[in-house]
Every structure is written in C-alpha cells, then in structure tokens.
Amino acid sequence: MNRIALATLALFALATTRADAGLTKGRTLKTGQATNYGDGSDGDLRRGLPRLFTDLGYGMIKDNRTGLIWEKKTNDGSIHDVHALYSWSTGEPWQANGTAFTTFLATLNSIPCFAGNCDWRLPNLNELESIRNLGASFPAAFLAFNQSCPSGCTNTECSCTTPGGYLSTSTVDGTPSDVWVVRFNYGGCYQSTKTDLGYVRAVRGGF
C-alpha cells in the first residue's frame, strides 16, 4: 500500500513538473540569420527553435513550431494572388470593415471555404512576424513561402511572397486610425493608415 502511495506521489510530482515545463511554450524562434558578424552575435549563437514547415497541400502551409496554418499565395489572379491589395478600414471609427475583411476573408470563409476550412482570419502582429526570415530579403521569407512564383501559378504549384507591407489585425494603441504592418522586403514593421492598401496572408489555428 505504501509503495502504491509512493508511486502515485512520484507520478504526481512528475505531472507537476511537467505542468511547469508546459508554461514555456512560447519559445522564441530562430531569426534565420546565418552570417556571423562576430562572437556573441545572432549569426554566431543562432538562438531559438529551428524552423519546420510542412506543405499540407490544398494551398496550406503548417508551421510546426507555432502551430499556425498559413495560406499560400499564388500568381494566378485568384483570391490568393500575392499582388492583391486590400484595405483594413473604410475610415472613421476605424473598425475592421475594409476589403481585407469584407472581400478577402469573406471569400475564403464562404462555404465550401478555402481548403475546406471556414475559420480563416488575418494574423495579429506577433503571428505575422513569426514567418519573417532575416536570412533573406526581397522577400524576407522562408523557402516554404517563396518558391518559384511564375505568372499564372496556382497554390498547388508555387508559393509566393511580395516584398511589401502585409496587414496585421493589430491596431496602434493611441492611434486607432493606424494598423501594424510587417514589411517583407527586409522584415521590419511599421504603422500604416487603415485606409491605405496592404497585402494580406490568411491564417488559421494556433490558439
């Protein structure tokens, strides 16, 4: 009996430790920097989780580190076309009623929905920043998002990224007319007016 109690206690202790370890699920990712600019610099230490993407087919890419499933962009004039520009808002009071929501997301989430999933959304600032690759520029994207993008190619044939500003869902605090935008030329972020046009990439999952 004592042994059972002891074993249970040991398992309980183990479970508690694991719950504690479970807290650390937001580990930072590698930036992608591979060039070494000196001892202790990013390219020397290369801190962070290594990246791992899986092409799920049907125009979706899964990031196995963040758990997010991303829309692939195309060059075929479809709703997924990498060159299509959308607005975040039509103006005051700066709500999410621009074409990024009313055209782009509405189309993806209209039954039967893109890739059979009706819960596509736009990423927030942190989610969007998670797919930048500082080891590349024009575009600052990982290979999974930047593979041969010839004119006319569909999302089962290619994967495209425009080296421009992509809209996030995050509003600039204190300036409700502005939204956070991630620029995929080099990977920086900036603030843009919600009526300005920007590129979009849909995401799902991840909560």
Partner: protein
C-alpha cells in the same frame, strides 16, 4: 517490486513520448497585449497567442515563463544597468569605413562588465538578445512606453535594479544584423514599439538576456 516498477516505467515512457510529440509546437506566438477591439476578427477581439507571465526574481532579473528567457532589469542609478547608458554595436573604423563586427562598447563594456566574475546575479552568460527575442518584450497596448509592467515600474531617480524596473524610451540594440546592409543592426524602439535597422556605430540602449533555447 517489479509489480510497481513496470507500470511506472511504462507511464514515464508514455509521458516522454507525448512530450516529444508536443515538443514540436513549442514556439507558439505570444499575445501582443492588445485588449481594445476594433471589430470582429481583429487582434483585440480574438486575442490569439499565449498569455504573458513574468516573474521578478528579486535579484535584478525578470524571468519570462513563456519564452524561458531571463532578462536584465534596467535601473536609474548610474550603474552598469542604468537605462540611460548608450553603447555602440561596432567599432567606428577610419572614415569612411564603418565596422560590421560585433565589437563595440556593448561588447567590450556592457556585456564584459556583466560577465566578469562574480558576474551579474551570479551568471556569466549574459548576451545581447536576437531581434525576435527582444520583440517579445514589446507591449503594443501601451503607446507611450510599449513595455510590460515588469519592465516599467517605479523608475525614480537613484533606484537600483532590485528597487525598480526601467525602460528607456528609444531604440535598443539586438544581436541581429540587417542582412542587406551589414553595417546596420536591427533595433527595437521602446518609444513606439516599431523596429528598424540603425548604423552599428550609433549609440543605442541595451538590455542583456540569458537562457532561452
């Protein structure tokens, strides 16, 4: 004895295996901090990402329980931790050559000081954060000083890292170089929350980090 040993080992193995599987998804994005909603489907409405959890270790160090990183607190006391100290990323070479190598005063003065035995908080592996690591400290819900409370508390003149927590309202260096122009490094502005690249010989703030993955 084996009666208990076998199921215990089996349970341990099961836990280890499930952990290895779950281990793939350990880089989940963090909450941005945005709580104001600007319509359905926006950040403040959905609030995707892991909730933030910081612990002040009371030795001048704050641990981020989500990322596993240990951060140096900044002070207002004129010490090596003072929020107003500025450092260069690279050495200024004879004009017009600007250095690309990580050898400025942020290395030779700031990090060297923290890592000289007995070292800051007893650890000698302090380093400069990568661009992605430093961006995890931005709280976009606070426009005036986009930092979390653990990095912006009671910053009165003379206070030390065990008494307060400060953030300078300007750009902080990261260890990441701007690939396109290697004489520039990525910086994060704790004035606006945005980021860009600055010439490595400029003077910028620095916050040390250790641990992580």
């Amino acid at each position: 004895m084996t009666r208990y040993l076998v199921p215990t080992i089996a349970a341990l193995l099961l836990i280890a295996v499930s952990d290895a599987g779950a281990g793939v998804t350990k880089g989940r994005p963090l909450e941005t901090g945005q709580t104001t909603s600007y319509g359905e489907g926006t950040d403040g409405d959905l609030r995707p990402g892991l909730t933030r959890l910081f612990i002040d270790l009371n030795n001048g160090v704050v641990k981020d329980r989500r990322t596993g990183l240990f951060w140096e607190k900044k002070s207002n006391d004129g010490s090596i931790h003072d929020k107003d100290n500025v450092y260069g990323w690279a050495l200024s070479l004879p004009v017009p050559v600007v250095g690309e190598t990580f050898s400025g005063s942020v290395v030779s003065n700031f990090l060297a000081n923290l890592n000289t035995p007995p070292c800051f908080a007893g650890f000698c592996d302090w380093r400069l954060p990568t661009f992605y690591e430093l961006q995890t400290l931005v709280n976009i819900e606070k426009a005036d000083l986009p930092a979390f409370a653990e990095f912006d508390t009671g910053c009165t003149p003379g206070c030390s890292v065990t008494q307060c927590s400060c953030t300078g309202s300007d750009f902080y260096w990261t260890s990441s170089t701007w690939r396109a122009v290697p004489t520039y490094a990525w910086v994060v502005y704790f004035s606006t929350g945005s980021s860009s690249a600055r010439m490595k010989t400029e003077g910028g703030y620095a916050r040390a980090v250790r641990g992580g993955f």
